[in-house]
């Protein structure tokens, strides 16, 4: 069966796209899926670092596109999971080295090899983003619970609709339950209310995410970690499972139970 291509984008930078790609990929692979991650952030690659595969790079995405190597040669196999691969970005080139149709061709070649292709988009709405969504069957938009990240996510959702890549699915990352309770952050309900798209995951703020990324070991493998569980739930929902949102994932639930307006 041919792979599904899922692009992870955001609009605003630094909200957790790369973290999401790495963790969702690991979670899918841990469930027996064959997964290829493609780092679409050319010139600013870091998916390889987060996945702990940096020192194994020989060929990259641009090498494949420009015919210097075969696709298989650029697919770095993960040490922990047998069917998890990374196609790294070129660090020394810029995004004009790749066109949207290059990405479509690359993914078409990759589709028969795996079940999932996850593409890490660069921030912004320029060429690199257009490349990253060109081949996508589904786009996840990552945001944080702050006004500017949500505003940029809204922009991206609109562009995805116009480019016939919608409707996007929303990941709300770095939710700090205490801050939401105090009213210092947008609540999940506020965000959904504005963006009006379907939610696929809510990931709590957790410093272990940073520790794990620095070690190159996505924390999804740690089943007790709450952020890790949230990424696993995203993977399961992508696979079509109905997974209830964890209690910690829905701060608005309490307000609803108490009959108050979540504002």
């Amino acid at each position: 069966m041919a792979a599904k291509v899922v692009t992870i984008s955001s609009g605003k930078g630094g909200v957790g796209k790369t973290t999401s790609v790495a963790n969702i990929a690991v979670a899918l692979a841990a469930r027996g899926q064959r997964v290829a991650c493609v780092d679409g952030d050319i010139g600013l690659r870091n998916l390889d670092v987060v996945m702990g595969l940096e020192n194994r790079i020989v060929y990259d995405l641009v090498d494949v596109i420009e015919g210097r190597c075969r696709l298989r040669q650029a697919m770095i196999r993960d040490k922990r999971l047998p069917e998890l691969y990374l196609i790294p970005a070129a660090q020394t080139r810029d995004k004009t080295a790749v066109s949207p149709s290059d990405m479509v061709r690359l993914c078409d070649e990759l589709r028969p090899e795996v079940d999932w292709i996850l593409i890490d988009s660069p921030a912004g709405i320029e060429r690199g983003f257009k490349n990253a969504i060109a081949a996508a069957d589904r786009v996840l938009v990552v945001t944080n619970p702050d006004v500017s990240a949500v505003r940029d996510a809204d922009r991206v959702v609109g562009i995805l609709d116009a480019e016939e890549k919608g409707p996007a699915l929303l990941v709300i990352n770095r939710v700090n339950t205490d801050m939401v309770k105090r009213g210092d952050m947008l609540s999940v309900d506020d965000i959904l209310d504005l963006l009006a798209i379907d939610l696929i995951g809510i990931v709590p703020e957790d410093e272990n995410v940073i520790v794990a990324s620095n070690k190159g070991q996505p924390l999804t493998l740690d089943t007790k970690n709450r952020a890790g569980q949230a990424f696993q739930n995203i993977a399961r929902r992508l696979m079509g499972e109905q997974v209830a949102f964890l209690e910690l994932e829905t701060p608005g639930l309490w307000q609803r139970l108490l009959g108050r307006k979540p504002r």
Partner: protein, 223 residues
């Protein structure tokens, strides 16, 4: 090779008009690319109107073409077509679909001169980055999100939440009004008056804003 050229180019008042012949879209694209490559000086900085005949084009195809042209310094501003899909696509991308453009919206217009039928209907939500400009009234079915902007010569009616920026009576019409099911715009202007709305009003009732003695006031919307 071919008897009929795939592409005809002529100069018009608004720049160049390129008329495409009958052929599959990729062939037409290739022919156009060839023309542009071989005569870069002729096309550099040009404003281009494209007549695609009956070709049915989707957003992805047309936006890709526009990107390619813009990389070569060519502005695609209009797409003419007999296909309603293509016309809709072009409109979606903010391209003109006829050559005689309506006057630019900055032009001062007296909105009484505009019949009610000239209202522009927009399906929402209008998301951040979207901008609607129209000489007459604007009606939005859906929300207007923060970061979206409406500039209308006439009134603005939002069947949804209005949280973006709206300017009604942009040509100076002080009788223009703004109504919304929830009126909490980032900024609201009627004619020359500006109001910046307080962060959250909590009033979830339809309201209408109008100018009364030169001051912007909002009151419950009662038809």
């Amino acid at each position: 090779m071919d008897d009929l050229p795939l592409i005809q180019i002529k100069g018009i008042r608004d720049g160049l008009l390129v008329t495409l012949g009958q052929a599959p879209w990729p062939d037409l694209l290739a022919a156009l690319a060839h023309q542009v490559e071989t005569q870069p000086a002729f096309f550099q900085g040009a404003r281009l109107a494209l007549d695609v005949g009956s070709c049915a084009l989707r957003v992805a195809e047309l936006s890709a073409l526009r990107d390619q042209l813009s990389e070569r310094g060519i502005t695609l501003w209009a797409v003419l077509s007999e296909s309603s899909l293509t016309e809709a696509t072009a409109q979606n991308l903010g391209l003109a679909t006829r050559l005689s453009k309506p006057k630019p919206p900055q032009v001062q217009e007296v909105s009484e001169a505009i019949p009610a039928e000239a209202a522009k209907w927009v399906r929402g939500p209008l998301r951040s980055g979207a901008k609607i400009t129209h000489e007459g009234p604007v009606v939005v079915l859906g929300d207007v999100n923060p970061g979206a902007e409406i500039v209308a010569g006439g009134s603005v009616i939002v069947w949804g939440r209005l949280r973006g920026v709206v300017h009604a009576g942009a040509g100076g019409d002080e009788k223009a009004v703004v109504c919304a099911l929830e009126l909490s715009p980032t900024q609201l202007r009627i004619a020359g008056e500006i109001a910046i709305s307080p962060r959250k009003q909590g009033k979830n009732q339809p309201e209408v804003a109008r100018l009364v003695d030169g001051r912007l006031v909002a009151e419950p919307w009662q038809a």
